[in-house]
């Protein structure tokens, strides 16, 4: 890939310096710079993530016998609902696309911004408005919703808690997601640098492209479904209410038509980030570029057809069960292709074991456990046994936290020097990894075991036979959080006191590493011309 002049870019002020008529906070709140918007998402999401994690800690504490009465059952119901809503809708779904997608998509394709910069800012405002509404729902109306993040009918249309506002918050958040999807697809189609053909795009861009299609095609289904829930609650229209001839299973179908592909909205960009990290630290080109690109599209496509596997015990027809079970098995194939290609890239590579690679390898390990436990549940017989148990909670967290969450950390470790022009302490990043890895597995692997033993999810109290498991999981949560605090403390310290990072501290091969760290407002002094594949090594050294 050709290298535009990094030194020319370095002479321009970075995007972090106010260059317009407005200054300070106002300059940030009215910015249309994709990099600033990415950072605004980052600030918001880190806040939401730690809020959700704090709630999670309290949920674990309740499961210790000595603290089992620290809150009422109703409060516990509210906590697991709020934990889910915050983590899913405010962190995991928008996480990588909104933060790293916004920041790096134009940089990686050699553009100056996204196609619709103002729409991009509007997406951030929709996101923040949705977040404010979700938080407001906790303190108004009938109190925090107690349905779980899935808002299943008919309970969600009957409960006296503030489901209406929480559902409306998710509706607004959906707009943010759709508009971001439209923006990314248009940007990729229309704004690639000269010579950047489709198969010269970095694979992170391919993953964003696949994700954007799912965002556009699936999110409207959720939006309509949530409006129907609101109409049910306000006017009793009867579409989901069995007492009026409605069908609660229709709600589940409509909800999962979005929410299962949403799992791929969450994981695909994470896979894309991992695909950027591995060749950089293996110092060799990615193995199976086209297979990875097509597998992203295949995951997006087939992943949109498997929603019924959330409903095997709901009373869905056996024909439906069998079809969705088969499709679920098929969707494992493109995911496995990616894992194979990552490990094949490492094979005979010249491994540089930096923190981003450590976290990327952790992602592969944890994601494999999450993926394989998912395939287990795709089998109808196993699903009957583990449905609505802690096994599901464990599986879900292996994929969403061990997958997307750890990939988010890996991506932040990889791109932090580019985003802020500062380098964090690599030693502390290694140290933080240990409690994160140990605590994570203590917490969530124990949940898998508890689930197989029959511990139901969302229960306020448990039988004495599950005591030991709950103690192990709860202690694991403390260890995990201590690791997270070390990791983010390291980032915070680096922001203010970190050493200056060069334009390409890792020797990365893609276009974002050819410009200054942090990049100038217009990204590149001159738009680069791309002449070769994206992962060409060796990379010429740059200051």
């Amino acid at each position: 890939m050709s290298a535009p002049s990094a030194t020319a870019s370095a002479s321009e002020p970075s995007f972090l310096v106010d260059q317009g008529p407005r200054h300070g906070l106002l300059a940030w709140l009215t910015t249309t710079d994709h990099k600033r918007i990415g950072l605004m998402y980052l600030a918001a999401m880190v806040t939401f993530f730690f809020t959700g994690a704090t709630i999670g800690i309290f949920m674990r504490l309740v499961q210790l016998s000595s603290l089992s009465h620290m809150m009422t059952a109703q409060t516990y119901n509210a906590l697991f609902t709020v934990h889910g809503v915050i983590m899913i809708f405010l962190f995991v779904i928008p996480g990588l696309p909104a933060v790293f997608g916004n920041f790096f998509l134009p940089l990686q394709i050699g553009a100056r911004d996204v196609a619709f910069p103002r729409l991009n800012l509007a997406s951030w405002y929709f996101f923040m408005a949705g977040a404010v509404l979700a938080i407001t729902s906790l303190f108004t109306g009938g109190g925090p919703p107690d349905t779980g993040w899935t808002f299943y009918a008919p309970f969600s249309i009957k409960t006296g808690t503030n489901v209406t506002l929480a559902v409306f918050a998710a509706f607004v958040l959906g707009f943010s997601s759709m508009l971001t999807g439209v923006n990314f697809i248009t940007t990729i189609h229309r704004m690639r640098a000269p010579g950047m053909k489709w198969f010269r795009m970095p694979l992170f861009c391919w993953s964003l492209y696949a994700t954007a299609w799912v965002q556009i095609l699936a999110t409207p289904v959720l939006a309509i479904t949530l409006v129907l829930v609101i109409l049910e609650r306000l006017f009793g229209i009867g579409i989901f209410d069995p007492a009026k001839g409605g069908d609660p299973l229709l709600y589940q179908h409509l909800f999962w038509i979005y929410s299962h592909p949403a799992v791929y909205i969450m994981i695909l960009p994470a896979m894309g980030a991992i695909t950027e990290i591995i060749p950089t630290f293996a110092r060799r080109t990615i193995f199976g570029y086209k297979a990875i690109a097509f597998s992203s599209m295949a995951i997006a496509g087939v992943g949109s057809l498997v929603w019924g596997h959330h409903m095997f015990t709901s009373g869905m027809s056996l024909t439906g069960d069998m079809i969705f079970s088969l499709l679920t098995m098929i969707v494992a194939v493109p995911s496995a292709i990616k894992v194979f290609n990552w490990t094949a890239t490492l094979y005979k590579g010249s491994i540089d074991f930096q923190p981003p690679l450590l976290y990327a390898l952790t992602f592969i390990f944890l994601f494999c456990i999450g993926g394989l436990t998912g395939v287990m549940q795709g089998a109808l017989a196993v699903n009957q046994h583990v449905h609505d148990t802690y096994f599901i909670v464990g599986h879900f967290h292996y994929v969403m936290f061990g997958g997307t969450g750890i990939a988010f950390f890996a991506a932040l470790l990889y791109w932090f020097p580019k985003m802020f022009g500062k380098m964090y302490s690599r030693k502390v990043a290694y140290i933080a990894w240990f409690p994160i890895f140990v605590g994570f597995n203590m917490l969530y692997f124990t949940m898998l075991v508890l689930g197989l033993e029959g511990m139901p999810r969302r229960y306020y109290h448990h039988l004495p036979q599950f005591d030991t498991g709950h103690v192990v999981a709860t202690v694991g949560s403390w260890i995990l959080v201590s690791g997270l605090l070390i990791l983010f403390g390291n980032f915070a310290y680096a922001l203010f006191k970190g050493k200056k990072a060069g334009s390409n501290p890792w020797g990365g091969p893609t276009l974002e590493w050819t410009t200054a760290s942090p990049p100038p407002q217009e990204n590149f002094a001159t738009i680069p011309t791309v002449t070769g594949p994206p992962y060409a090594f060796p990379v010429e050294p740059r200051p």
Binding site: I257, L305, G308, S317, T319, F324
Partner: protein
Amino acid sequence: MTEQTKSMVEHPEESPGYGTFVAVWAALVVLTGLLVFVSHFGQKAAVWGLLTITPLKAGLVFYFFMHLKYEGPLVKGVVFVALGTLLIFFALTYADVAFR
């Protein structure tokens, strides 16, 4: 001036004209009446009416009111991807509902 605005200036958007709009509107009214009429023959007829007449109405809106007729193959392709996705969703949901 961007490439896109240049293209818009060089190729001003075609318009179907008021006559076509009124004809489409009249067709939509007739089809709505037909749907109401069909629904009087029981739930089954109502469902089939919804599944056949409503997409026809939506198609007219897309094609004339939303100017799909005058769009290039890319935009038309995107619309058909969306419609195809919707049909697949219907088919898979049908795999449950029809065999309960």
